[in-house]
């Protein structure tokens, strides 16, 4: 996969003109990777042929600009899940964890870590004094986990959904990037994990964020993932999926509940766990 220098300059100039976003030299691979699917869709032999098409096709230019500027994760993505977290899910977890005074959260398929650190910010603001929290951030990509550990974000990434008051409170400038404060990083632990295969040993969690991930899997794999996550959510805990995702028609072991503007999925416990069936068998 490659792109000619003249094509790259044309595309970089187009994106800068239309969005102010900069693709500097060295980003050729990224531009080629993002345009290749569109080139194929248009039936073009390669990215350079596709870039020639862009010069005369305005609607295709719009698609190319979208491909080059979206699909990155953002802070407090979609907002509503974080509102549900603050208003309902975290208070419930605090009520359930009075004995240990510790709340556990899993950011599954954490990508570059904005979800985990957004949650970390809310915990810093909402958790009662004397309580601790642990956020496990997992991803199949070790490169992404390295990014989470580094906790450094570009200017473009910082602009996406992070309130300026949080930026000045929790981040410091390091060169051209911004670095997450040590107090937020202390709460976040990373671990390599492929959702599609058997999980390594994991604790149980009060709240699991599995957002915009299931869409990438086939039906059987989705069911399998939800079954294995079920065992990792504490009784009374919650699973949050993406706004277009659901457990409906996939499995009957989750209850759906509207919390604010989002659907929260609660694990239904087997009857034995409630002591309904087990005593009879024990007596027999």
């Amino acid at each position: 996969m490659s792109i000619a220098e003249s094509s790259f300059h044309y595309v970089a100039d187009l994106v800068r003109r239309e969005t102010s976003m900069l693709y500097q030299q060295g980003k050729e691979y990224l531009v080629a990777a993002r345009l290749l699917p569109l080139a194929r869709e248009s039936g073009d032999a390669d990215v350079d042929v596709y870039v020639r098409r862009l010069k005369t096709d305005a609607s295709e230019r719009r698609k190319a600009i979208d491909a080059l500027t979206i699909n990155e994760t953002s802070w407090f993505r979609d907002n509503a899940p974080y509102q549900a977290f603050t208003d309902v899910l975290l208070p419930q977890a605090i009520a359930a964890r009075q004995a240990t005074r510790k709340v556990s959260i899993w950011s599954a398929a954490c990508s570059s870590g904005q979800e985990a650190y957004s949650l970390s910010i809310l915990l810093d603001q909402q958790l009662p004094l004397g309580w601790t929290a642990e956020i496990l951030a997992t991803d199949v990509s070790t490169a992404m986990l390295e990014r989470v550990k580094a906790g450094r974000y570009s200017q473009v990434e910082m602009n996406r959904g992070l309130p300026a008051t949080h930026l000045v409170r929790y981040f410091t400038r390091v060169g051209s990037e911004w670095e997450v404060s040590p107090e937020l990083r202390r709460v976040v632990t990373t671990q390599h994990l492929n959702l599609a295969t058997t999980f390594p040993p994991l604790p149980t969690f009060d709240i699991v964020f599995l957002r915009n991930v299931l869409i990438y899997f086939d039906l059987e794999t989705k069911r399998d993932i939800l079954r294995r996550i079920h065992a990792r959510v504490a009784p009374g805990g919650a699973l949050l999926l993406g706004s277009s995702e659901t457990t409906l028609d996939l499995t009957d072991s989750w209850e759906r509940e509207a919390v604010g503007r989002v659907q929260v999925h609660r694990p239904i416990q087997p009857a034995a766990a409630f002591g309904l069936a087990a005593p009879t068998r024990a007596a027999g």
Binding site: R16, R17, E18, T19, S20, M21, L22, T69, I70, S74, F76, D78, N79, Q155, V156, M158, N159, R160, G161, P163, A164, T165, L167, V168, F171, T172, R173, S243
Partner: protein, 127 residues
Amino acid sequence: MHALIIDDSRAMRSILRRIVTDLGYETTEAEHGQAALDHLEGGLAPDLCLIDWNMPVMDGYTFVQRVRDDTRWRDVTLMMVTTESEHGQIVRALAAGAHEYVIKPFTPDAIVNKLELLGLLATEVPA
């Protein structure tokens, strides 16, 4: 909804105009802080000001201070959109009364995200 776009770069005003027009805003443009103040004095009542920092005649920081010193304009939301990216500059702007801060370069959805945070999306925008 009405946005006052304050930037000495015509290209940047055009980028911002396109973004907020897509969100249903009407727009007015000013090349510097003083021209923007003149619009306000003339009776313009925008919901939102998008403000560059470094401009001739009157910079964006001074504009924010002037707007915040006058109760006639207490309801307008002020958002800096600037290349000024030092931690201390952002703190200064927020302390002077800016509600939000976007650092150039940005993607269009960054502006949309911030307006959503501020409750200033004029129309429903698909997620």
